[in-house]
């Protein structure tokens, strides 16, 4: 018995190491690249031994990109701020609209509620470009093109269905009796939503918010079409690294590292909520 | 009982690492003879289902040995153990009808169709599901699914039949009826069965011997009468028996030729010394404090004896249950006629030495039982 379990441990450890290596290697490699110059990155054969430099990061932060063809102005920090603002604001709007809607879909089975919920989800099926073409024209006519509000509005196409469907599931998992009990105890419908439904679905709402944030952060096409340079997020801004004198791999890598940091930090922070979310089953006990 | 069908030897179950994880079953030893029906009785989390699943092979036996029909089986996969099991959660095959679900094992054994049909019909009639054999599992009630699952297990040829709460979903009236029929079915064929239940009525009605479990420990293993008359410890004494046994801490002392058992709250039970066997008397006096147990039906109202104030008097048709405040606690009496006592009234009770059980207050182990006191 003891022998098999030791062997089991070794096998399991090896398997986990392999999986981690496979998935983490690109990120690890990019992390190394961000501390190298274009020359060391492109040498053959590649090596993990190099002299680290912070030049990529200083270039991004100061906004001055030195290339063979001269110095370029880039607005990476502005892009990073745009990403942060757009994603946060979109998720905030999405939660404010989506959570009550999710509750309604979970609890009030009105005529056509399933159809409406499905229609909202179906926004995720349409190719974004199909929506974008007419949208661009409308936005230009009503003056929403190239505004933060316009972008946040369009981002709801990504954020809202996600929040709606995830949070709805969490609300449905709360036994109706728990809410009935609170109402019978003398609390109004609104108080029951705030004091019972919201806290109990909290981990689910956090998880949905996090996922929505990541989706919004990684969006490329909406911002590419609808926003000009000063409103662009990092995903679009990264195009600036493809310069006339070639691709600036070092700066791209540093840009990636900087741009995944916020989502990464958020995910780490939210992890405990996600785990709590999985143990929501305790409600039913 | 002659030939041993099943033997558990020092069986342990750990969830997690052996010796470190949750110790769900603790060093169980028990023998089951061929043709016996055994009930594993206990509340949820007592280890009874883990034990059953180790016998079936669905759980790994962490330590110890399991012998079944002369073979060592604890390392074998379930299919090689030659056991049949009815699950608490029914687990029917959802894509075939009830008849094919029940007949599954017989068909796999390539029995002639006529035999299969006859056996399915017989067991289905017995369990009152003869009329739903053509239905799909999804379209029948929980109680019907449970009976179909039971039928599927009972129809098989196996060395041992394992029944996990086989009647948990059934209505009480049906449960009473089926208890008798299932017992008859098992006994008539000389099958050996282990039943897991939390319902002592079911255990008493079906089993030849009951294994009472709590905290992963086998508390007592004996016939229903043995467990009732000679509970091994306070747990078994108060767990088995409905209504549960009354228990009171007392202080024992000898005054002249009388044995005084002082209850809390100033009450005093006085018996002639001769009512107790010398070694029992000695054991009580030596310990000073012991716990006295008396079953509700053995408490009688009588003109003399200590007083109790009636808190409740509930008539259940064929019994009256009376609760009375007594010695800082509550004393429960069962009478078989309708009792005419008002709430708040004072009654006097008699506790016959022949009905007393004496337990050690620290270990909870029984020191002596009723009849052997004298």
């Amino acid at each position: 018995m003891e022998h098999t379990s030791t062997l089991e441990k070794i096998l399991r450890g090896t398997a986990i190491t392999l999986v981690i290596l496979f998935f983490m290697f690109p990120i690890f490699w990019i992390f190394l690249m961000s501390f190298q110059t274009n020359e060391t990155i492109l040498r053959v054969p590649p090596s993990i031994v190099f002299e680290p430099t912070l030049s990529n990061y200083t270039a991004l932060i100061t906004g001055k990109l030195d290339t063979a063809a001269g110095t370029l102005e880039i607005s990476f920090m502005k892009n990073l701020w745009n990403s942060l603002f757009l994603s946060t604001a979109s998720v905030a709007v999405g939660l404010v609209l989506g959570v009550p809607a999710a509750y309604a879909f979970a609890r009030l089975k009105f005529r056509g509620s399933e159809d409406i919920a499905f229609t909202l989800l179906s926004f995720r099926f349409a190719p974004p470009l199909l929506v974008l073409l007419p949208l661009t024209i409308y936005f230009q006519q009503i003056g929403l093109a190239d505004t933060y509000i316009g972008l946040i509005w369009v981002y709801q196409l990504i954020v809202l269905p996600l929040i709606l469907w995830i949070v709805r599931g969490y609300f449905e998992d709360i036994p109706a009796d728990v809410e009935y009990a609170y109402r019978i105890a003398g609390h109004s419908w609104g108080a029951t939503f705030r004091k019972i439904a919201l806290p109990l679905a909290g981990p689910g709402i956090a998880a949905a918010g996090l996922l929505a944030f990541i989706f919004a952060w990684n969006n490329f096409i909406f911002a590419l079409v609808l926003a000009s340079a000063d409103k662009q997020p990092v995903t679009v801004g990264a195009l600036a690294f493809v310069t006339a004198s070639g691709i600036q791999y070092g700066q791209v890598a540093a840009g990636i590292v900087l741009s995944i940091l916020p989502t990464f930090a958020l995910a780490l922070y939210a992890q405990r909520y996600l785990v709590e979310g999985l143990s929501l089953g305790a409600v039913k006990g | 009982m002659s030939e041993t069908m099943l033997r558990l030897e020092n069986v342990d179950k750990f969830y997690g690492a052996v010796g470190k994880g949750v110790h769900a079953v603790r060093n169980i030893n028990m023998d089951v003879a061929r043709g016996e029906i055994i009930a594993l009785l206990g509340s949820s989390g007592c280890g009874k289902t883990s034990t059953l699943r180790m016998i079936a092979g669905f759980e790994e036996t962490s330590r110890g040995k399991i012998h079944l029909a002369g073979r060592e089986v604890h390392r074998l996969p379930p299919v090689k153990r030659h056991v049949a099991m009815a699950f608490e959660g029914y687990s029917l095959y959802p894509t075939v009808n009830v008849r094919d679900n029940i007949a599954f094992a017989l068909k796999a054994a390539r029995l002639p169709q006529a035999d299969v049909d006859a056996r399915v019909n017989e067991v289905a009639e017995m369990l009152e599901i003869g009329d739903i054999l053509g239905r799909m599992p999804g379209s029948i009630s929980g109680g019907q699914q449970q009976r179909a699952s039971l039928a599927r297990a009972l129809i098989r040829d196996a060395d041992l039949y394992l029944l996990d709460e086989p009647m948990g979903q059934l209505e009480p009236q049906l449960r009473t009826l089926l208890r008798g029929r299932i017992k008859h079915y098992i006994k008539q064929r000389g099958l050996t069965a282990i039943l897991v239940t939390h319902d002592q009525t079911e255990a008493n009605a079906l089993a030849d011997r009951i294994a009472v479990m709590e905290g992963g420990v086998l508390q007592q293993y004996g016939s229903p009468a043995e467990i009732k008359e000679r509970p091994a410890n306070l747990f078994t004494g108060t767990f088995v028996g409905e209504p549960p046994m009354n228990v009171f801490p007392v202080t024992g002392s000898v005054v002249g030729d009388q044995l005084h058992l002082d209850l809390e709250g100033g009450l005093d039970l006085v018996y002639p010394q001769s009512a107790f066997a010398p070694q029992v008397r000695e054991a009580i006096v030596k310990r000073g404090r012991v716990v006295l147990g008396v079953r509700p039906y053995a408490v009688r109202r009588s003109g003399e004896g200590p007083a109790a104030r009636v808190l409740a008097n509930q008539w259940l048709g064929d019994q009256s249950h009376i609760a009375a405040a007594f010695a800082n606690g509550t004393l429960v009496l069962v009478e078989h006629d309708r009792a005419n006592v008002d709430i708040g009234a004072e009654i006097r009770v008699a506790l016959d030495p022949a009905d007393l059980h004496v337990f050690d207050p620290e270990s909870g182990k029984a020191i002596a039982h009723g009849a052997e006191l004298a």
């Binding site: 009990a181 109402r183 019978i184 105890a185 109990l200 | 008798g180 409905e242 008539w315 048709g317 069962v334």
Partner: protein, 369 residues
């Protein structure tokens, strides 16, 4: 406060659960709703609580129509079968929830919660979250929450179902006092006939889509409306034997194992009709062979049941009968024996309809039919 239900109809999709249920519960009364699962007991409670709406009919609390009145405004306390505790609040906050709704003062709230907790013996676990409580403590917390607001109407939905046998028994003895102290009107749902008999001033037996019989425990046990209800009360279950009453030397009688057994003399009208004789197992006694009205049986098996000994015996006509006697009393355990039926306790039912036939003289005296 009194409670009145008038012609309540409720269906879910095409499934009619309640079809014209009317019910009146007096102030301070405990009414037990008893019946098998699916009989609509829980639906009825929810209708009274106001969390679902009836399709037709009205609910009156103290004469006031509750149509359109929100659950929080009905002044009701309810305990759920699965407890339905708020998992993110400790026991104290759970119990206090009816008081926070009324914006009671902190000190008043604390005092009331502790009072209720003490009564229910959970004052030492008030700071625990539901998942840290044992099943029994959960059940008491749920009960405490229902009681804390001192509601005048208390709905208890099988509150003892999910607790172990020992605690269930203790609570059964304790609850009547607790409920009496609250002076509340109580509707208590259960599937356990013992709970129903022990706790109810009256019992409403639900079956089909409505109430099959309503009456005191005595009415239901001693004069059940029909064989189905007779079978629901009593453990072991009542013996039902097909008989045809006839005129004998001593008046109306039936034949069991060929032996004449006298019946209540008020059953003269049933002579010659197909009937069912209902005899509770405790109304059959073992007697000597020469005792009057005795008939022979063969004993098949003997099992202990809750301080009773239950004997399964077979009559000469191969009919199974159950006989019960207090544990510890003498009786034969195998072979041939003779038994006699307590004629006064025997019930007669119409075989075609299953309805009970009340003996004539008793009916004249106005006994429940």
């Amino acid at each position: 406060m009194s409670l009145q239900l008038i012609d309540i109809v409720k269906s879910f999709k095409d499934d009619v659960v309640l079809d014209g249920v009317s019910l009146e519960v007096a102030s301070g009364e405990t009414l037990v709703l008893f019946g098998p699962s699916g009989a609509g007991k829980t639906v009825l409670l929810r209708l009274i609580a106001g969390v679902i709406e009836p399709d037709e009919g009205s609910i009156l609390i103290n004469g006031e129509n509750m149509d359109g009145v929100e659950p929080e405004d009905r002044g009701i306390g309810m305990a759920f079968q699965n407890f339905a505790l708020f998992p993110h609040m400790d026991a104290r906050a759970n119990i206090a929830s009816p008081l926070t709704a009324r914006r009671e003062s902190q000190t008043g709230m604390k005092r009331r919660v502790e009072e209720v907790a003490k009564l229910l013996k959970i004052d030492h676990v008030l700071h625990h979250k539901p998942k840290e409580l044992s099943n029994g403590q959960k059940q008491r917390t749920a009960l405490g929450r229902a009681l804390a607001g001192e509601p005048k109407i208390l709905l208890l939905d099988d509150p003892l179902r999910n607790v172990d046998a020992k605690l269930r028994f203790e609570m059964r003895l304790e609850l009547p006092r607790l409920l009496k102290d609250q002076q509340a009107t109580v509707i208590y749902v259960t599937q356990d006939y013992k709970e129903a008999m022990a706790l109810g001033h009256r019992i409403a037996v639900m079956s089909g889509q409505g109430i099959a019989q309503i009456g005191t425990p005595e009415d239901i046990y001693l004069a059940p409306q029909n064989t189905a209800i007779a079978r629901l009360f009593g453990d072991p279950v009542i013996n039902l034997l097909d008989v045809v009453p006839e005129r004998g030397a001593e008046g109306v009688q039936v034949r069991l194992s060929g032996t004449p057994v006298p019946l209540h003399q008020g059953h003269a009208a049933s002579i010659g009709h197909d009937c069912v004789l209902g005899v509770r197992p405790e109304a059959i006694r073992f007697v000597d062979a020469d005792a009057p009205g005795s008939f022979p049986v063969t004993i098949e098996a003997e099992t202990p049941l809750n301080e009773k000994t239950v004997t399964l015996a077979i009559t000469e006509k191969k009919r199974e009968i159950l006989i019960s006697r207090p544990s510890g009393t003498p009786g034969p355990d195998r072979g041939q024996a003779h038994v006699a039926i307590d004629a006064g306790a025997a019930l007669l039912f119409d075989r075609a309809t299953g309805n009970r036939i009340a003996p004539a003289s008793a009916a004249a005296k106005g006994e429940p039919a």
